[in-house]
C-alpha cells in the first residue's frame, strides 16, 4: 500500500454517504416546506431530515478521517481538498454578497428613491408624501412601528474584539502545530472556540435586547430585514465554525495532525478567518456607518 500512495490518486470505491445525504435533504426540505405551509408534522419531518444529515456528515467525515490517518492520501489529494475548501468558502462569500448587495441597494437606491431622489420625484410626491430618506429606515410605512437602531459601540464592539482575537489565537495554534508544540496548540485552539461560543452567546443576548428593548425586529422594515438576515446568517456560520473548531480540538487531543499533514485544521482555520472577515464587513456597514 504505502508504496503506491505517492503515485496513485486515491479514488474511493463507492460510498453510500452521499445517497444518505440526499435522503436527508429530501426529508428536511419537504418537512420545512410543509411546516411553513402550516402542516404541523412538517416540523418533525424536518427534524428527522436534519438528524439524517448530521448522521451523514459524521459518518462521511469519519470515513475520511480514517482514510487520512491511514496515509492513503498523497499530496495531490491534499491539494484537491484544499482547493475544494477554498472554492467552497468563495461560494459562501458570494452568498453573503447577495445580502450585502441588498443592503447597499436599499441604502443607496431604494430609500433615497422613496424619498424622491433621482428619477423618482413622483414616487415621493404621489405615494409617500412627507417621507424623508434616512438610514436606518423601516420605510415610508414605518413597518413594525418605531424602533431604535443597534448602536455600534458596546456589545458589537466587544464582539468585534472577540472575533479578531480568536482569529489571532487560531493562527498561533497553527504555528504551534507546525512547530510541534502540542500543548500550546491545544490551549490556543480551545481559546479560539471558547471565544467563538462567547460571541454567539453575546449575539443571542443582543437579539433579545433588540426585540425587547429596542423594538427592533425582523419585521422592522428594510433595516430590520438586512440587520437580522446578515447578522443571523453570520451567526449561523460562526456556530458552524465553532462546532468545527471543537471537533478539531478533540482530534488534536486524540493526537491527530502532523506538521505536514493537517488539512482539516487549516480548512477550519480558513473558515474561521472567513467568518471574521464577513464580520468586519458587517460591523462597518451594518452597525457603524
Amino acid at each position: 500500500m504505502a508504496t503506491h500512495t505517492d503515485e496513485h490518486y486515491y479514488v474511493p470505491h463507492g460510498s453510500h454517504w452521499p445517497a444518505v445525504g440526499s435522503l436527508g435533504l429530501l426529508f428536511m426540505m419537504v418537512g420545512v416546506s410543509a411546516w411553513l405551509n402550516g402542516a404541523e408534522p412538517g416540523f418533525y419531518i424536518m427534524l428527522a431530515g436534519m438528524a439524517v444529515i448530521v448522521f451523514m456528515i459524521t459518518g462521511w467525515f469519519r470515513e475520511v478521517i480514517i482514510e487520512s490517518q491511514s496515509g492513503i492520501y498523497n499530496e495531490q489529494v491534499d491539494r484537491s481538498f484544499r482547493q475544494g475548501m477554498f472554492w467552497f468558502i468563495f461560494s459562501e462569500v458570494m452568498f453573503f454578497a447577495a445580502f450585502f448587495g441588498a443592503l447597499f441597494y436599499a441604502r443607496n437606491m431604494s430609500i433615497p428613491w422613496l424619498g424622491g431622489d433621482s428619477n423618482n420625484f413622483f414616487t415621493n410626491l404621489i405615494l409617500w408624501q412627507g417621507y424623508e430618506s434616512t438610514w436606518p429606515s423601516n420605510g415610508p410605512a414605518n413597518m413594525g412601528g418605531d424602533y431604535d437602531a443597534m448602536p455600534p459601540m458596546g456589545l458589537p464592539l466587544i464582539n468585534t474584539a472577540l472575533l479578531l482575537t480568536s482569529s489571532i489565537t487560531v493562527t498561533i495554534a497553527h504555528h504551534a502545530l507546525i512547530a510541534g508544540k502540542r500543548a500550546q496548540l491545544a490551549v490556543f485552539l480551545a481559546a479560539t472556540f471558547i471565544l467563538g461560543f462567547i460571541f454567539i452567546g453575546l449575539q443571542a443576548y443582543e437579539y433579545v435586547h433588540a426585540y425587547q428593548d429596542l423594538n427592533l425586529k425582523l419585521t422592522s422594515g428594510i433595516y430590520g430585514s438586512t440587520f437580522f438576515m446578515l447578522t443571523g446568517f453570520h451567526g449561523l456560520h460562526v456556530t458552524i465554525g465553532a462546532i468545527m473548531l471543537t471537533i478539531i480540538f478533540l482530534r488534536v487531543l486524540k493526537g491527530h495532525f502532523t506538521a505536514e499533514n493537517h488539512f482539516a485544521f487549516e480548512a477550519v482555520a480558513w473558515y474561521w478567518h472567513f467568518v471574521d472577515v464577513v464580520w468586519i464587513g458587517l460591523y462597518v456597514f451594518v452597525y457603524w456607518l
Partner: protein, 269 residues
C-alpha cells in the same frame, strides 16, 4: 376542435396571402420617438444582415470548396495575428456606430419635462385605472364584454368573429393630438407593464414606486396594446387602448366626463 383550427387557419392563410397585411415588422408608430426607435431597429437589423452575409457567405463557400470529397489537403495554419486583430477591431467600430444614435434616442426618451397633460396609471389584477391629474377624471379600464365572453374555452363563440379580440376595453384613454402626455405609472398589487407599440412606450408599473414616461402622438387614431409583465392568471386579458383625438374633441370628452360619468366609472369597482 382540430378541424375548426385547421379550417380557420387555412382561411386565414388564404386571406393573408390575398391582401398581404401580415405584420412582419415593428410598426413605425405615430410619435417622433416611435419613428426614431423604428429607424434604430432597422439600422441595427441591416448591420446584422450585412455581417451575416459576410460571415455566412465565407462559411458556406468553405463548406462547398473545402470538403474532403474534393480531395483537398487540409492547410496547416492555425493562427494569424493580423486577422484576429482585424476581426476584433471592425466589430468595435460597428458597435460604436450603433451606440451613438441609440444613446441619443435614449436620452430623448427619458426627458419628460414640459408636459401638457399628466395621467396617473395604476395597475390592478387585472385592469388599469387612469386618473387625469389636472382634470377631475378617473376611471377603470377593463377588457371589453365581447372578448370577455368569447375567451372562455366553451363559450361557443368563434374568436375570429370578435372585433379586436382581446384588444378592446370598456373605457379607453383619450388624449389630444400633439400634446405631450406624461404618464405616471404605479401598481396596486403586482408588477404590470403598460405598452402601446404605436407610441413606442413600455414602462413597468411597480407597486410602491412611480415610474415616468411620456408620448406625443402626431396622428389621430385608436392605438392598442397590452399589459406586458406577467401579472398572474389574467395577464393576457388587460389590454390598453389609447384614443388620440383632435384637441377640441378632447375638450368635449373632458366636459362630458366631468359631469357624473366619473362617479359611474369609479363606482364600477
Amino acid at each position: 376542435m382540430i378541424r375548426k383550427a385547421f379550417l380557420s387557419v387555412l382561411g386565414l392563410l388564404a386571406a393573408g396571402a390575398a391582401n398581404a397585411d401580415w405584420a412582419l415588422n415593428m410598426p413605425k408608430g405615430v410619435t417622433e420617438l416611435s419613428k426614431e426607435t423604428y429607424d434604430l431597429h432597422m439600422m441595427v437589423f441591416w448591420w446584422c444582415v450585412a455581417i451575416g452575409i459576410v460571415v455566412f457567405g465565407v462559411m458556406i463557400y468553405s463548406l462547398f470548396a473545402h470538403r474532403k470529397s474534393k480531395g483537398v489537403e487540409p492547410a496547416k495554419f492555425s493562427h494569424s495575428t493580423f486577422a484576429e486583430v482585424t476581426w476584433t477591431a471592425i466589430p468595435c467600430v460597428i458597435l460604436l456606430i450603433m451606440a451613438v444614435p441609440a444613446a441619443e434616442t435614449m436620452i430623448k426618451a427619458e426627458d419628460s419635462r414640459n408636459s401638457d397633460i399628466s395621467i396617473v396609471i395604476t395597475g390592478y389584477q387585472w385592469k388599469w385605472h387612469y386618473r387625469y391629474q389636472d382634470e377631475d377624471i378617473a376611471f377603470y379600464s377593463t377588457l371589453a364584454r365581447p372578448s370577455l365572453e368569447a375567451r372562455l374555452p366553451d363559450s361557443g363563440v368563434d374568436v375570429f368573429s370578435v372585433e379586436n379580440y382581446l384588444l378592446e376595453v370598456d373605457n379607453p384613454v383619450v388624449v389630444p393630438k400633439g400634446a405631450k402626455v406624461r404618464l405616471l405609472l404605479t401598481s396596486n398589487d403586482v408588477i404590470h407593464s403598460w405598452w402601446v407599440p404605436e407610441l413606442a412606450i413600455k414602462k413597468d408599473a411597480v407597486p410602491g414606486i412611480v415610474n415616468e414616461t411620456w408620448f406625443q402622438a402626431e396622428e389621430v387614431g385608436t392605438y392598442r396594446g397590452q399589459c406586458t409583465e406577467l401579472c398572474g392568471k389574467d395577464h393576457g386579458y388587460m389590454p390598453v387602448v389609447v384614443e388620440v383625438v383632435e384637441p377640441d374633441a378632447y375638450q368635449a370628452w373632458v366636459d362630458t366626463r366631468q359631469d357624473g360619468d366619473t362617479k359611474f366609472a369609479s363606482a364600477q369597482q
